[in-house]
Symmetry: C3
């Protein structure tokens, strides 16, 4: 598999623009951890990739948690004494405290103020705030907007419902030759936030598209889930499947102009950690490797001690470290086509590396084989191969002793994995290497995709392949 | 246990002054490796803490060594040709070569000179020199003093005795719930040297006072011993006890104005090494960690290959590295109240960490438990807990998998041990953690202090709880 | 054994000049991977050390390779249209493409040019080029020489033969008390190149001379072989012997003015790697340690995965990194007596360390033994031993617990190995240490040299102890 080469042959600018266009489609939807916002988002993803949409009833126990009520909202506003909508959910869905209980009342400014959230240090930005698991209502607005409010009685309305219903998530399973899985997970519960939500959704969707229909070594599972409670729910219902995850990535905040950050899995030295570090080191972009910490995105759940899965988190700017984080400034201008495309390319290179990381054994372990007579070496009159190609062959032959994977060889030699992998393939074709089983492989490479699918079906009680009937049509009105 | 908090709530200035005052009390005594000087010192320590004083007869074989003769001295001087005392032991006990054989004679300056020791590079300072295990007599004086001596006949007198007697040391045993022990050792054989001797004696004495009467996890053993021969004697007579030492510290040179130095145990990665490094890293003072070497103080004996005990050495300035070392300038002005107090605080923090370093297992290992509903997380309207407190809880929950102690968690998270320990205690109270046995613990936690005491009694032939009868009363006259 | 001390007591300048003189003797010979050039070279080495010369017939299969035809050359030239020899092999044997097929023809300049090799970037230097395993003829000359050639017909003559014969190498075996071996290998197949060939040959020959007739712990095997095919041939015929190699060094490019480079073995942490690093660190010369890579000299074959021998490569400037590399500028002016001598000294120190790296156990493991009464410590009036000598004794006593070799102790203490080794010897003489078996030793120390020799005889079909009959006498004419 060489996803990166294929995707690189396309026009990066065009791919970036398509990724941005998909983010634009999703941007106006008012998502939350439950409700029609996330359903509508998943439906748009389903237009592009085969997505099973799973609905888990309110009240279902999931480990230490319980699936919460479903939240839906139609409208919300604050009307000034003169009757004008001074804060209007229909203009920006960040204006409502996400998961607010319904309210319809008229109150003086002094009583309204405890329900207003602003950022005094960034007086022009609307904050993103939530009240999950609390009975609370409120509005978010810019600090300057709040300062402009005059004394008087205000009509406040949050036309929301918090009722028994479902938690909804989407799952795209692409069967490979092995039932061992690669997990790609991203959260889909933030309303109009572009980097912190839509960048990951767009890149993951495009990655799944790229993989679709290919002959895959691993099976791939893409999860589009509400943060925290979604990952907990999925893990609670899929413990057997989770045990098959060999490598995983949480994707988030990968559209901004910053360099890459890869946060290592709890174990810290798994293949995904090493592959991500290798790919980023050779990516030509600035990149930093971060140690695991039990804070962040859903890697927190995948890396909880009972699961301890080999799942890292790929970001550009780190959540909380950029001023636009969780504000109205994390909008469509904040993410860039070139950065989205670059993130897709890095993900493709990571998956290529996982797919192609094999174990070989040299058929000629005693001294070097004679590469010259096989036309794999320098020629007398100059070079038939580039220097790095020849070095890659020598490294592969030298280290293919049953104790080194191609990734080990790439790391030790300092040569790009794809060069090492191509050298190994050529040497294998020439009969100088044989393929040996991957010692870390849990299940045999012959594991079929069928098993994977039946497991998925077992673990997923309510499956809908077309949920667009549940969704209303107007932007900003669900 | 939280010694540090208690001691920190007191007035650091006052504690420092008390430590200095105790050093002042001990300063005039002319100590040596045997004799009444060390006896009188131990008696003053015994005024403050329960101290058993052990007397081992001259000639007792102790491993490769033999307990030497007992040295006592009443007076020593050099009288100039005119009869004036130009060098007078009663003015400064460094003037006599420590452990000198007796002498009373009149000799010309030329014959006297081979018996005079000075430091030409520091012409105003009196050196500290010893002649243990050699039959020799001599005087130490400033180089300028020596240069001023005129030709003529000098009367020299060293009124000392070197006779069969005892080697004396003091031992303070504080029984804890476990018979596993923490050792605190300091040498008590140097005469009027403040940093290199008295600083360690004072801090160790105050530490023992702080621990007295507390409910302790470990049993504590404080040794006040003559350097080298004392440690060898104690180890030779207490091999079974030595096997119970889980952590140990040699305290020396901890009153000067320098930053801390911690010299690691021979093993280099024991808990005491890690705890000392952790506490010093967070102490706010400059601190350097030194590798083990087989030179220095009594850690040389505790870390000899047959014992290889987990014993490090805590210092401020390192012996030999400061110009005042082993000279009359290592006097009471050289040690400072604030530095003595700071050293006591660091020791208290080290002991707190050892006492509180436990192993827990998460009762909720699959995904995070829901901290919010237990009021252990951010609240919607702001924060109910500080950020570090919450991070500490998440780290403890994530790493409490049976493979990590609280110290491991503090090291990996970079969070202060006490914050981690408090988080663990809170989570344990909320039922989210259970306590598991410490895998490194040699003896069960139920080991009683009684065993420890009986062992001590067995290993200690001659015990006196009040030896002041043996001591004369005048300063500088023993 | 203390080779270094002995050699250091001689006049370094004189040794360097002798090494250079030997290189001068060998310089004019036109060596190649087979033929009389290497035979004549080996004969000159045989004048100095006991050398077995091995002849392996053309066509013999050696692993993936086949012993090639034997190449010999008498003359080669290009005659300009006027009849003048413009390129003359008799003036410089680099002028002929090494291993050229014979040719005698007259051709126009345009047809000659594809057979001419120059270095445009270094227009005054003649390149060194080879055509092993290709049927090709050609000449090497300076770029300026080539530019000066005028149009016209040129007579070219390469009076060479490529016929069935033998591959020749030399082997010097010095039997020690153990049949475990130390390998010193250098290539002997380059024509008039001083640093890249002769420096290694000269130093290896002198090392073998130094070792001859000594009581040796290890047996030593010096190989003087054609690069690549020689090492492959030797390994193919000596697999049992190869299994006895405990330490090995490839010597090359060790006469130029550069600092040392030691390239580690494939394993990277073997004794030879550690010893070379230790010796170089203390050598007082600039030195760099390089990681293994599967390119370079015959360490490539010794470190192929089937053998994976503990063999590193000692160089001064690294092949390919200096502008004189593989040109006529790598001549006798490029190597220097002082550098050759310095390389010999470093090799001697490495062998001393290997010979003297023993395992001891302290007879006094509980506390320090009393060094003072054995006169092994500071005296009262000053020092009976230097500080480093005393520290070395303390380190040896502290770490001689059955888990540390003297090399381990030298590394941990930072003290020069020879100081550690002398301390251990002294302590052993005083009865404070006993010698214990080296845990890494494959064969018992009682293994005799006889076994080693019979193995060598078995593995070496055709042995000549005096091959000078095969060699013609004129320089540059073989």
């Amino acid at each position: 598999m060489n996803l990166l080469r294929e995707v690189s042959e396309q026009d990066a600018t065009k791919i970036g623009q398509e990724l941005l266009r998909f983010a634009e489609e999703l941007y106006p939807i008012c998502r939350s951890i439950t409700g029609d916002g996330i359903r509508r988002t998943l439906a748009k993803i389903q237009d592009r990739i085969p997505l099973r949409i799973c609905e888990i009833p309110t009240g279902t126990p999931v480990f230490d948690w319980t699936v919460p009520k479903e939240w839906n909202i139609r409208d919300a506003y604050i009307k000034a004494p003169g009757g004008r909508r001074v804060v209007d959910f229909l203009k920006c869905n960040l204006h409502v405290l996400n998961y607010s209980t319904p309210v319809h009342a008229t109150l003086p400014l002094s009583e309204l103020k405890p329900h207003l959230f602003t950022i005094p240090e960034q007086p022009d930005l609307i904050p993103y705030r939530t009240s999950y698991y609390n009975d609370e209502w409120g509005f978010c607005l810019s600090h300057n907007q709040m300062l402009a409010l005059e004394d008087g009685d205000y009509e406040v309305c949050i036309d929301s419902t918090l009722e028994d219903g479902h938690l909804t998530y989407g799952e795209c399973y692409l069967a490979g030759r092995s039932s061992d899985e690669v997990l790609i997970s991203c959260h889909a519960c933030h309303p109009s936030l572009a980097n912190d939500n839509l960048s990951g959704l767009a890149v993951a969707t495009f990655l799944a598209q790229l993989l679709s229909g290919r002959d895959l070594r691993y099976s791939y599972r893409f999860l589009f889930i509400p943060g925290t409670i979604g990952a907990i729910t999925w893990l609670a219902r899929n413990r057997e499947t989770a045990a098959r995850i060999r490598h995983g990535l949480v994707l988030t905040c990968i559209g901004d102009k910053g360099g890459f950050h890869y946060k290592k899995s709890r174990r810290g030295n798994t293949d995904i950690d090493r592959v991500a570090a290798h790919v980023l080191r050779h990516s030509g972009e600035s990149a930093e490797i971060l140690e695991f910490s039990p804070y962040g995105y859903d890697e927190r759940q995948y890396c909880s001690p009972g699961f301890n899965l080999p799942v890292g988190c790929l970001m550009r700017s780190v959540w909380g470290s950029f001023p636009e984080y969780h504000t109205s400034a994390d909008n469509l201008d904040f993410i860039r086509p070139s950065q989205l495309a670059g993130s897709l390319f890095v993900c493709a290179a990571i998956l290529d590396t996982l797919e192609n990381n094999r174990w070989y054994r040299s058929e000629s372990p005693y001294c070097e084989p004679q590469l010259g007579r096989r036309n794999l070496y320098w020629s007398a009159g100059g070079e038939t191969s580039g220097e790095e190609e020849i070095m890659a062959r020598l490294w592969v032959l030298n280290l293919s002793d049953g104790n080194h994977s191609l990734l080990d060889i790439a790391e030790r030699s300092g040569i790009l994995f794809s060069t090492i992998s191509e050298a190994a393939d050529l040497l294998w074709q020439k009969g100088l290497l044989s393929i040996i089983p991957d010692p870390g492989q849990g299940t045999p490479a012959g594991g079929t995709s069928r098993e994977g699918n039946s497991q998925l079906r077992k673990g997923t009680p309510s499956v809908s392949t077309a949920r667009s009937d549940l969704l209303s049509s107007g932007d900003g009105r669900e």
